[in-house]
């Protein structure tokens, strides 16, 4: 029997496969299709202090093996979240991680305060990497100082463990990872989407009104994997890896590269039960490789790289 459980930021997950923020709504939507309690953890759509309309359509555009999104953090705001979504989420038997975003450090602080009373939140994931909003978001995640500031502010208020979600749109992601570790983050998650765009050749203009959008999906996997590998070497806090995970094989690559857990995002649109298939695939892989604990695989590629 393989022990799939992992521990991150003080949370115990029965398996290392979570869903990525923004691709799984508030879990309720997919709970109509399968038992979401089979997941390692659920991560909510990003929540802001006030409700957010989001961006005008189109919000999605497919690229080769990738997906551009410009959702723009549409969400019901923290009050709406607590009123409409939390009652269902708190019934889940798996850890629930709430993803939060803000335009100012003060907003991050206040949203943390609003969420603090909710018993049952397992962790906050601090989104300092959303490329689809006018203010805040990725702007914080591109500089070590502002990343530090936001995470520090959340950490000061939060009764929950804090995961910092990093942006890949930087020269050196290790710098940012070190800054948030310094600020007290209990874990880092990466990557958020990569800034990209598409042009409509008939209309001769950008597909998206905001011109740029965030790229996710299998296309970005090699980049995400590299960043996980880099960050694993730079920090001591656990790394949650994501970006283009489509199959158990991808998940194994991330784990070997240093991810203590992984998140599946865009692949869910292709196959809602992809995370469950990945869990089973991981189990088989570990068994085949005579590992009794999946956690023994974390970062193994680093040790083996040294020898080759």
């Amino acid at each position: 029997m393989v022990d799939l459980s992992v521990k991150i930021a003080g949370i115990c997950l029965k398996n290392p496969v979570m869903v990525a923020s923004g691709t799984f709504g508030f879990a309720r939507e997919y709970s109509r299709m399968f038992d979401v309690n089979e997941l390692g953890a659920v991560v909510t759509k990003g929540i802001t202090l006030l409700p957010k309309e989001g961006n005008p359509p189109p919000r999605l555009f497919e690229t080769t093996a990738g997906l551009l999104n410009s959702v723009g953090l549409e969400n019901p705001g923290v009050e709406g979240f607590i009123r409409d979504e939390w009652p269902y989420l708190k019934t889940l038997q798996v850890p629930v991680i709430v993803n939060i975003a803000g335009e100012t450090v003060e907003e991050y602080r206040r949203i943390t305060q609003c969420l603090s009373p909710l018993e049952g939140i397992s962790a906050l994931e601090v989104n300092i990497s959303c490329p689809n909003v006018e203010k805040g978001g990725m702007a914080f995640g591109r500089h070590p100082d502002s990343a530090y500031e936001v995470v520090r502010a959340v950490k000061e208020q939060s009764p929950f463990p804090v995961i910092a979600k990093l942006s890949p749109n930087v020269s050196d992601i290790r710098e940012i990872a070190l800054a948030v570790e310094e600020a007290g983050a209990d874990a880092v998650s990466l990557i958020n989407t990569i800034l990209g765009m598409a042009v409509d050749v008939e209309k001769k203009r950008p597909v998206f009104k905001r011109v740029f959008a965030g790229l996710s999906g299998p296309a970005v996997k090699p980049i995400a994997l590299r960043m996980v590998y880099e960050v694993y070497e730079a920090v001591r806090i656990p790394v949650i890896g994501m970006g283009g995970i489509f199959s158990w094989r991808d998940a194994v690559e991330f784990i070997l590269a240093g991810a203590s857990a992984v998140a599946v995002g865009s692949a869910i649109f292709s196959d809602p039960v992809a995370p469950l298939k990945i869990i089973r695939g991981l189990e088989d892989y570990a068994a085949r490789n005579l590992q009794t604990r999946i956690s023994d695989l974390v970062g193994l590629a680093h040790r083996n790289a040294a020898e080759f």
Binding site: G25, G54, L60, G217, F269
Partner: protein, 258 residues
Amino acid sequence: MHQAEIILNEKVAHSIYLLRLRANKVAEGANPGQFLHVKCTKGPHPLLRRPFSIAGAHREEGTADIIYRVVGEGTSILSKKRPGEVLDIMGPLGRGFPLPLPGTLPLIVGGGVGVAPLLFLAKELNKAGLVGRAFLGFSTAREAFGKEIFETCGFSVELTTDDGTHGKRGFPTELLEDYLKSEKKVKAIVYACGPRMLLLKVKEIAVSFGILAYLSLEERMGCGIGACFGCAVKSAKGGYKKVCWDGPVFEAGEVEIW
């Protein structure tokens, strides 16, 4: 999500295919206007499923149809599938067309492959003992399909083509407008599906004649079940609605189409 066997995948007009699936759940539960979210390949590209309106459900046979136009990669892959192969589908999804109030005349306006869900609607209306009129528009004669089915359902059908190769030259919305002008006292309800311009025009006509219109909208979709906020359409009340969850069928006044 289910694996549905393909029973039939045939050309019904130029670049338009009818695909029939063995899918009991769909056959039993589907309402006209709902859609299936279809995976075109097993591989990672194209990544997203493709939404297609349900064009018919045959409860007895346990089968359901979609009718699709080959426009890009996904539909081109679909068109090469053969009977016996299995298709991964989600659905029936979304909110379909509400049936008309008693005594109301259903007027159907369809453009191009937008005619697909309206075929299913006509059959269900017919089952409910209701018939009406259908105004159908196509680019050109060889792309026309579905006329006979509306007729079988007791609908009187008028056709237009953009180039005048079949039916009247022009757009089906012109026929709708002419009809409403000529039949001032009729208590009608409009059901429309087609290109954006057609829906916009239908909305305009509905407003000016003070009648109810239900429009089936299209928007690019991710999850198809309301989880990703990807398929936004501007709500008349501010903010956005989700085409996959709040629609794809909306009362014309609910949404801003442009």
